[in-house]
């Protein structure tokens, strides 16, 4: 049975039978897509299984990678820096020949804002491509740069274009996340950055087109 099972798993796109060690909760977005597909009337006349309609992109595999990075020590002198964290996503499970069609980073915070905004105060968020040690690659401009008056509970960033440009080094994605208060804000840096542990989790949603979908379709 074992070789039969291996053969079946291979045809389903798995190198071995998974045995989850620390199973994480299923991300709500994946549940929603699953339930929507499940509720479609059968047979699925109108369903293209090589397209993820929810994101309007080609693809038949949707993965959510958990962040495996760590908080980085603040470097001096950067008094207005609230948070500096390495984001590390191990993408080695992507199979040879899979084509990435969408990548979306989600940052979830414990609450909707670091603190009550004061007049003129702006929070700036930057994401830099980095090496696995957490050092931003020299001379590289931020992948994402955005200003907020107030941080929301969840922030989404499309990274598809950046990754397609070949900025994904090897089989993983390493980024440095920085959140800082604008230098023009009044008050001490510490008070402006109160709650710098507010980042709850980061995850990367990746949509890919597997080999099955990439094969040319036979003419009718």
């Amino acid at each position: 049975l074992s070789w039969q099972e291996s053969s079946l798993l291979k045809s389903l796109g798995l190198s071995a039978k998974p045995s989850p060690k620390r199973p994480v909760p299923v991300p709500p977005v994946l549940w929603r897509i699953f339930q929507r597909r499940k509720e479609l009337p059968r047979p699925h006349q109108e369903l293209d299984s090589c397209r993820v309609e929810e994101f309007h992109v080609p693809g038949n595999i949707v993965r959510v990678f958990a962040d495996q990075g760590r908080f980085l020590p603040e470097e001096q002198p950067q008094g207005w820096l609230c948070l500096r964290k390495l984001l590390f996503f191990n993408l080695s499970v992507l199979e040879e020949g899979e084509r990435l069609t969408m990548a979306q980073l989600e940052l979830r915070f414990q609450h909707n804002s670091y603190h009550s905004p004061r007049p003129g105060q702006v929070l700036e968020l930057r994401l830099y491509p980095a090496n696995p040690r957490g050092q931003p690659q020299p001379g590289r401009s931020p992948l994402v740069e955005r200003s907020f008056v107030q941080l929301h509970k969840s922030l989404l960033f499309k990274l598809s274009a950046a990754l397609k440009d070949g900025k994904m080094p090897g089989r993983n994605l390493t980024l440095v996340l920085e959140i800082s208060a604008s230098s023009g804000a009044s008050g001490s840096p510490r008070s402006l950055c109160a709650g710098s542990d507010a980042l709850e989790a980061a995850s990367l949603l990746v949509v890919t087109l597997g080999r099955q979908c990439r094969a040319p379709r036979s003419r009718r």
Binding site: S19, P23, P43, L47, V93
Partner: protein
Amino acid sequence: SPASPPVTPSPLCKPRRLYISFSDVGWENWIIAPQGYLANYCRGDCPFPLAAELNSTNHAVLQTMVHSLDPQGTPQPCCVPVRLSPISILYYDNSDNVVLRHYEDMVVDECGC
């Protein structure tokens, strides 16, 4: 009172019910959902003459004719899936990531000869 006559299953080629439970094959630890699904399978005869509802190919029609002439040398056409539909599966991969994958050709909707 007389018992109602037993329902005799049709011997003709058509989809039969088959529920695949992932726990029966020992995959329940890593497949999150569904726990199983109605996959169906094809079984039945493709007799001479092939009726229209048997979804027969031209090849099957000719093979049936040859079979009627030479039953020993040529078998009857087979009853096989002619239309299948996809399902989606949510599972944990080898790195504990959650994956949603759409698999084509998982459910037998129609059979034919």
